[in-house]
Symmetry: C2
Subunit: 447 residues, 2 copies
């Protein structure tokens, strides 16, 4: 993309309403614009990141064998009366009447609707296990929305639902989600720690939240320092193997890690003192096993191998897709702006032309642009007639992990400059080597 | 995908509520399930098609230089009061109050919000031309929703908005959209004819609807038969060239083609009688130029080169993404089921194992599955223990354009059967040649 043809409305001033860094940078970098309280429009740069995160979630869900569907945002109140949650949900549920005076709502979650889909179409244990998920806009009418997309009212969320014959199978689905979420977050450059959590209005005993450590987190967290040494890495997991998934769960949840909601001081004190940590965390996902709560209430049964109808065991599992955009920024920024992890960066690298209009500089930039594009990469080329300082400041603010700087002086020596946003270190090298390096970083075969 | 691990709830009976073929087949093929009146859940097969269509739209919008954003579904009533449409819109607009008693609505279209984004961030003619678009769920509270996703209440739509300094530039944006839509529909295997239309509540003089001819179309259409001979084909268009886009517009709109709303009997009679056609059509898109209607009402101005503030010229342009799923089926089916065009098929080909459990047949199917997957293609492998007739009927119903049938008898002679869903013709050939043919059809390099 050429910046002269893009829509990147960067702000010079920090908007006064933004209290946390992700909100400030998302507004300043032209990623979002508030439409009304807690409701945002995603401008081009923000939408690109949102879509990258969405795609990673889809890919990792597919890898785990989960199947994508899409449920509507508007639901009839009827199903929610069947489960008993229509009255229980309170004012966070946005309710309305349609033109025929029927009670409708903007779905905050979809246990009822997916259970209805299941009971309408699945009748035998032979069709299990089954996990359906969607990525869809949700609405929760927060009384005091704040922190930008971190606690908005309309938000984009992955919500998945497993249906299993037995508790054991459903707990495997739970573990499978835990494994898949670890992979998902790591691909986004995040360390998200599973912590024992409180089940809230979804119900159920087994639940973990995934928390990203950040000073601005809304939860106080308590954990054993050993836990931050764990990484999922590139290990290959057979998602069908109960044992392999169970082993990952044990590895990542056996050490103490809890939020203030479930914190147990006595247990925490059993952790050696030098490893006890208190910090703040941002919740970016949660998994639940809640057994037959909804299947019994709504008659979602299957015939088992003896022909008896039994209610299925279920769980639900969420990833806050739009919230992750904020969480990643909270975890990865400096005082100049955002620092995108390579996995979610809106553009793979920036190209800064130090002397727009100079024939040689323009030509070198165009050649870099063409070569990177041919590799299937998306560069953002700042081709505006601006001074270098403004171009650098803009690139630092929007946080592309790599920048290639092209100027007449370097070109005389046959080199351009490759700069890492994270470390700030620069290196002069011939353009074709810069391309090779970028290709390598993103795992593309050089052409 | 292996069918044994998929969720494809095919119905044997035709649901009685479905009056048109696309609705019937979408229900029977397990693509959608009604959640409430005019509101559908997209089951896995339906969601895959929806997503393919969405991706084609994104790709073609990017090619035309249009920039993707995402606006919220819930909007405050305030902006709509500013444009004067809040009261004008009537009962089709779904309205509600949030917990703080503020008037909200589920957006049926987004001229107001996008104009607000524009006026907040753009101030100079130098930032023009600019076209922003989104693909987002919309809601129109149809009094009598019917025909499945063709006239639902919650629907998925691409809506794009151009901002230009002059009428001439805005008309170029109009033409550019027309060109881009022609390409978009053709990639989906559709012939969509631009017809002069009525502007309705959006306002404006210049507007064309794109109609797909189909017996079940809601509009009566009148056209010169020559128009159906036109194809956009693989021509390369410079979307920046006013002349090139204008030429396409003239080519595709100079012959008589109108819906009943704008039909002019006298003009129609000037078409030679043997070329006069009356038919029915499904609207799958519409483009508008409406000038300064919203920019004046909402103060969306830029400084021109003399420093004077002038209201921008705008247009809006829509593609009915979820409706297209139905329209494609209306245009492409037979009495056995759907026939997907290659561009939007949910899976690239089916693999039918005639003797599940037979070592050789299973092995050959697995090898085909692995080879096709390695090419980046998605086969659907019917690995269930079902009789051949049921497998064929299922494949015919869901409409994958190509099927590879594998059985012990063929394998003895070293062949499998490759069948075209559209023509019904089959050919016996060695497995590796079948793969090569499929790869060729989808433009993949053989491995």
């Amino acid at each position: 993309m050429r910046l002269s043809r893009y829509f990147l409305p960067v702000l010079k001033e920090t908007p006064s309403e933004a209290q946390i860094v992700s909100h400030r940078y998302m507004l300043r970098a032209g990623m979002i614009k508030q439409a009304s309280a807690g409701i945002y429009s995603w401008l081009p740069l923000g939408f690109k990141v949102l879509r990258k995160i969405e795609n990673i979630v889809h890919e990792e869900q597919a890898r785990a064998g989960h199947i994508a569907i899409q449920m509507p945002t508007m639901q009839s109140a009827d199903l929610w009366r069947e489960s008993g949650r229509y009255d229980a949900y309170g004012q966070e549920m946005l309710r309305m009447k349609d033109r025929h005076d029927r009670d409708m709502l903007f779905t905050p979650t979809a246990e009822e609707l997916v259970t209805d889909i299941f009971r309408s179409h699945v009748g035998s244990y032979k069709d299990l296990p089954l996990t359906l998920y969607q990525i869809q806009w949700k609405f929760r009418d927060e009384i005091r929305p704040r922190f930008g997309v971190m606690r908005g009212r309309e938000f984009y969320m992955k919500d998945g639902y497993n249906f299993d014959l037995t508790k054991e199978d459903a707990l495997h689905a739970y573990n499978r989600h835990l494994v898949s979420y670890l992979r998902t977050y790591e691909r986004m450059g995040l360390q998200a720690i599973p912590m024992r959590a409180d089940s809230g209005p979804i119900g159920g005993d087994n639940t973990h939240e995934f928390l990203v450590l950040a000073d601005t987190g809304e939860s106080e967290v308590f954990y054993d320092a050993q836990i931050t040494d764990l990484t999922f890495g590139s290990r290959e997991i057979d998602y069908d193997s109960h044992a392999e998934c169970q082993a990952v769960l044990e590895e990542f949840t056996s050490r103490y890690a809890r939020t203030d909601e479930t914190h147990d001081e006595a247990l925490f004190n059993e952790v050696p003192e030098e490893r006890r940590r208190t910090a703040r965390g941002i919740e970016v996902g949660q998994i639940f096993y809640f057994g037959t709560k909804y299947s019994e209430a709504m008659g979602a049964t299957v015939a088992d191998s003896d022909g008896n109808r039994v209610p299925v065991h279920m769980g639900s599992h969420g990833i806050g897709v739009s919230r992750l955009v904020g969480a990643i920024i909270e975890a990865s920024h400096d005082d100049k702006g955002i620092i995108w992890p390579e996995g979610v960066t809106p553009f793979h690298c920036g190209i800064v032309n130090l002397k727009q209009g100079d024939e040689e500089a323009d030509g070198a930039c165009e050649a870099l642009y063409a070569s990177l594009t041919a590799l299937g990469l998306e560069p953002l080329y700042d081709d505006r007639n601006e001074r270098a300082g403004a171009k650098f400041a803009g690139m630092d603010l929007i946080g592309l992990p790599w920048r290639i700087t092209v100027g007449p002086r370097g070109l005389k020596n046959g080199v351009v400059e490759l700069t890492s946003r994270r470390t700030g270190t620069s290196e002069e090298l011939p353009p074709e080597q810069a391309i090779e390096r970028i290709a390598q970083i993103y795992g593309r075969a050089a052409v």
